[in-house]
Point group: C2
Chain length 371, copies 2
């Protein structure tokens, strides 16, 4: 178990960050998040750039004040969404040039700007601008991205040192790229570590590559990293993937899975986290055959299923979230079937309770030396 200090309080790792894409975890208030024991949320710079616009958040006094969340916030650089969502984007050595739907002009997101923007957001944990390649990706392309990511990381670091010369209100995390190529990953890790950051993220994973590869790459990178700095696996993942990654040394996770699935009525149950079931999960081996990593210690139920029509039990009898303490599956199903927004809200509360409870369980297990 670890502890990471930020300008808005310390967080305990391993941890999971609910996604507040547009300065809100969909359908929840900051009060809901507090009640769930949320330690930190993640917000997406690119989405905030599009709406409400960065100027407005700056004038609001930063993202915390804007959304009224007093805990820590991690922000991404905006690069990932520009690569995956923006029109007419072009990557050059200066940064990413993209067509902005906000003002109809082209906008250059340089490493310096990425830091400047996140500083204006008053982010607690800022991410460097990196080039995230998709999957699959040829080795040549992956190598180019690694090189560029290292150059941009250096520029981000310099900008950070300039902007935060007097105070270090924000932490800055570097990002390791290199697709599924172990040698590129090792090289990227060495280059990023040489520059030096407050924490290290693994980018470009969880993009559909075989999980065997994912875990191999985590292992390769993990060996290079400073044991005393937090490690963050971006965009992960399903509960069993998180557990496996924790076993490989990862401290921080973020994923839309619990909240997005909740909005589609997919509910995680068995929040008792039967310890033996968790420990039965196969150990990850770098060599040799991987066992079935899909083995689960929980169930997923589709609450709209007809069999829950007259099921007056809570979603999960072991869960103490507001949804489980107060409502039945039959009621949740009814809300989903009639498109009542309350259904999505209650399901989101429950799924986050499941994820955050899982992380809490993992932290306790680590403390007790059982992991």
């Amino acid at each position: 178990m670890g502890r990471l200090k930020t300008a808005h309080g310390a967080v305990e790792t391993p941890l999971f960050m609910p996604i507040a894409t547009r300065a809100a975890v969909k359908s929840l208030t900051p009060e809901d998040l507090k009640n769930l024991g949320t330690q930190i949320v993640l917000s997406n710079t690119y989405h905030l750039f599009k709406s409400p616009g960065l100027e407005i958040i700056k004038r609001a006094g930063g993202l915390h004040k804007f959304m009224n969340w007093s805990g820590p916030i991690l922000t991404d650089s905006g690069g990932y969404q520009i690569f995956s969502l923006a029109r007419n984007r072009k990557i050059g050595s200066q940064g990413v040039d993209f067509f902005s739907e906000v003002d109809g002009k082209h906008f250059l997101l340089s490493p310096e700007m990425a830091i400047q923007i996140q500083k204006n957001l008053k982010s607690d944990i800022m991410m460097v601008l990196d080039e995230c390649v998709g999957w699959p990706c040829g080795k040549k392309q992956a190598e180019t991205a690694v090189k560029r990511t290292s150059v941009w990381a250096e520029h981000c670091r310099m900008a950070y040192d300039k902007f935060f010369a007097d105070s270090r209100d924000s932490l800055l995390f570097g990002i390791v790229q290199g697709s599924i190529y172990s040698d590129l990953r090792r090289r990227s890790a060495k280059e990023i570590i040489r520059i030096g950051f407050d924490g290290y993220a693994l980018g470009g994973l969880m993009l559909g590559e075989p999980l065997k590869k994912t875990y191999q790459i985590i292992r390769v990178v993990e060996r290079e990293l400073d044991k005393n700095k937090p490690r963050y696996l971006m965009g992960a993942g399903k509960p069993e993937q998180i557990i496996q990654a924790v076993k490989l040394g990862i401290d921080m996770f973020d994923c839309v899975i619990p909240t997005r699935n909740a909005r589609h009525g997919l509910i995680y149950i068995n929040s008792k986290f039967d310890q033996s079931a968790l420990l039965r999960l196969p150990r990850v081996k770098l060599r040799g055959e991987y066992q079935n990593l899909k083995q689960k210690f929980y169930k997923e139920i589709h609450i709209t299923n007809a069999k829950y029509k007259k099921d007056f039990r809570p979603l999960d009898k072991n869960c103490s979230c507001y949804a489980c303490k107060n409502f039945s599956r039959a009621y949740l199903r009814h809300l989903f079937k009639t498109n009542e927004a309350l259904g999505q809200r209650l399901a989101t509360i429950h799924n986050l309770a499941f994820y955050l409870g899982l992380m809490k369980y993992v932290r306790t297990a680590i403390k007790q030396g059982k992991f």
Copy 2:
């Protein structure tokens, strides 16, 4: 000010009932409703019949348990929605026959069934089955509806006496019809009062008829009614209409306006309820010229308006609801512009705080003899 005892606690009048159409006030939890000081909610039998189905609510142990609301609930008979929404509906002396989308068969809602269904819902305040005519409506049609409403009221009363022979867990309200015809209204009121109910509702108003007519009819009916029984103006209304109706002796109101408008970003402000502004509202006169009853003591703002983009003030500086205490107009606007469900939820909280605060103000003013 009055006091009405129900099986789930007493309520103080004049009061406003938020609408929980499908066993939920859209986007709010029972906890939200409690925090808002909600005394009683209204739920719609016809919508519950369609989904989840009455059998499920019965098996859940009633509507309170199903939706986990521990305060009183008023239910309608289902008749109004059958008239306005159902396909192939036919009105006869036995009740309303309509095509049920639930099982593809025809379904007869008789006065006895309306009571039986509301008994199964464990409604605190049940409404009789009535025939609500639209507006405009010819006198002949209105008269037929009055006759039928009286017959059905008698049958409802008989069913109620049979079902509740041992206990009187639910109250039963009669409904006065008669469109905008004073003589028909007087006749309907006399007939309904002769049967005798725990409270009396005015149905068939607030349907688009001139407000002058509405107030005239309220005055006509009010003169016939028992001073010690609550009077309920169904489907009303805008804040200034509620105030006028209170002045005419109405105790209970329900309307989708605050919640529906909230979902469209229309916000009520000035919750300070400047007493002098309220008292300046013209007295309703039965004879002579009506003054402009549209005079308002509040403002409506469209939160999506560009002028709120950088407005970091709360929706209403005088309001102490969760939305106003924690968020800015700029943030609310951002949530609405990006279709974040949280926006609708916060706006709903605020608009209900406005309506419920208005009623509280009115009760205090009455206590102080200022009304």
